[in-house]
Symmetry: C2
Subunit: 334 residues, 2 copies
Amino acid sequence: MMKRFVLARRPDGVPKADDFRQESGDIPRAPDGGIVVATTHISVDPGMRSRLSGDSYAAALALGETIESAGIGRVIESRNPKFAEGDLVSGALGWTTHLAHPGKGLLKLDPAFYSGAVPPTCAIGVLGVPGMTSWFGVHALSDLKPGEVFLVSSAAGPVGATAGQLAKAKGARVIGIAGSDAKCAWLIDELGFDAVINYRATPDLGVSLNAAAPEGVDVYFDNVGAEMLDQAIRVMRPHGRIVISGQVAEYNAASPRGIRHVPDFISKRLTMRGFVVLDYATQFREAQAAMAAMLRDGTLKFREQVVEGFENLPAAFIRLFSGDNFGRCLVRVG
Amino acid sequence: MMKRFVLARRPDGVPKADDFRQESGDIPRAPDGGIVVATTHISVDPGMRSRLSGDSYAAALALGETIESAGIGRVIESRNPKFAEGDLVSGALGWTTHLAHPGKGLLKLDPAFYSGAVPPTCAIGVLGVPGMTSWFGVHALSDLKPGEVFLVSSAAGPVGATAGQLAKAKGARVIGIAGSDAKCAWLIDELGFDAVINYRATPDLGVSLNAAAPEGVDVYFDNVGAEMLDQAIRVMRPHGRIVISGQVAEYNAASPRGIRHVPDFISKRLTMRGFVVLDYATQFREAQAAMAAMLRDGTLKFREQVVEGFENLPAAFIRLFSGDNFGRCLVRVG
């Protein structure tokens, strides 16, 4: 039987379980020239939030539609010569156990590439949209130079952790902001960050930032926005660059808080840039090859948190906004 | 007799007359190797505000010090071989009728260059810091391309009016925001702007912006900040650039208002950059030559508002924050 979650109503603030509705039906058959995929892993990430309300670069998801997300699955029926039964694929599979698909736009995972230190789930994690966001944020937007100071928020999240390691590989001094002592310890001990701030344990983030970066910050890689971005602006060095990767603190707000310290942009000659990683899609393959090499030689690490059971998708998604998740969150279809 | 204005106390909000104190003394004598300048024109501009409080890239002016500003003057005594009595000079002369100066850092105005359509006061106006701000904001920061839509605030001010004309010369469609019908008429009739918005006459700036730029804005040249910047963000096109030239709406605020719409930076791939025009000082001469040619062939126009009498300096400065000034404001020393 096919099971899927659809959008039952538009979330008001932090999403609730009732915003989603589970439906079921027959396992679909392959359309002419298409395939049927049985999903094995479905990713949940905070950027999906904006699609539920529709204030984003993509149109809002319609009520009653399957929730969209990246996933990994196995081809169980094929009427397409490019795919064989048993092939692993990744792409925008959605919150469903099975789907009929024309085949176009899905990536067939090469078992030789996705093996060993590079398991298939990397295709929707460190080598998927989150990892590409880290790569192009650091390599295409930040203009980071060796010896500079690199600050990243949500540093233990899938985008932040990878961005920090890529900055480290470029010779930067890397400071991470995360929400627990366990996350901070992981950043220092496992990923080699130079300094960390547990924002939940500090009474004054500005003071902590000054202590961690006494000479200021050259690049701030922002996954959070709002107050955290505002505080980061205060410690930016002249000619500093702010890369707006995500704004998780704003996604559930009825109206965004934004930032106060725009006059600092003049005196400190700051640049702030936002980006959509899909604009770099033609360069993904090259970036993935470089990052896979780093995974194999151990200079790049990642952390996955696997939630068991399709039914737990809404809860796993909602928990992203609590700050309690630790690593890239995937739901394994049971 | 020498007269000067000094900083009597740090302004709280909009500067008041009592924040300044007039002092007098003997006309100074030239130091060894230096000169004495009798000022003829003193400029007042909103950017000076931040120096009075000290939250800027330059240190705060000390209490009791002469208020700093650009000016034009005539050399009345010289012990420096580079200057002769009668030479016109421009530079950071301050709010004083006379000053002794070592000579270094002052620009001797070439009478052949500063003549006809390029009077000497241009050296502290359209060819001075305001005009350089326009030039480098448009040419070095905006990445403006022919056919793009260019929006500028404080459009009838010395920076905005010049920026709009430079954008027009680059083939852009130019929209100005100004604070009176007279200013708007001048922008259209004299400077050739394509559209204008009188922000004081519109009940909803966002609606007016959408009407003036139905397909959105590629470059916003911001002299105002706060609410106006926030509204401009909403009408930016994908890949739009925001040049932070000035933040006059923020200078008198105890804490800045800033902007709300940072999430738009992601979905629309926006870039926002602040700058300090003095960073481009080595390129000033080249820019001034190009702009002087535009003044002589009539493709660049400017408007000066000359206030008569040294005593009126504080009032002229304070009026900058009312929005009532129209054109570059200069005080002529009586």
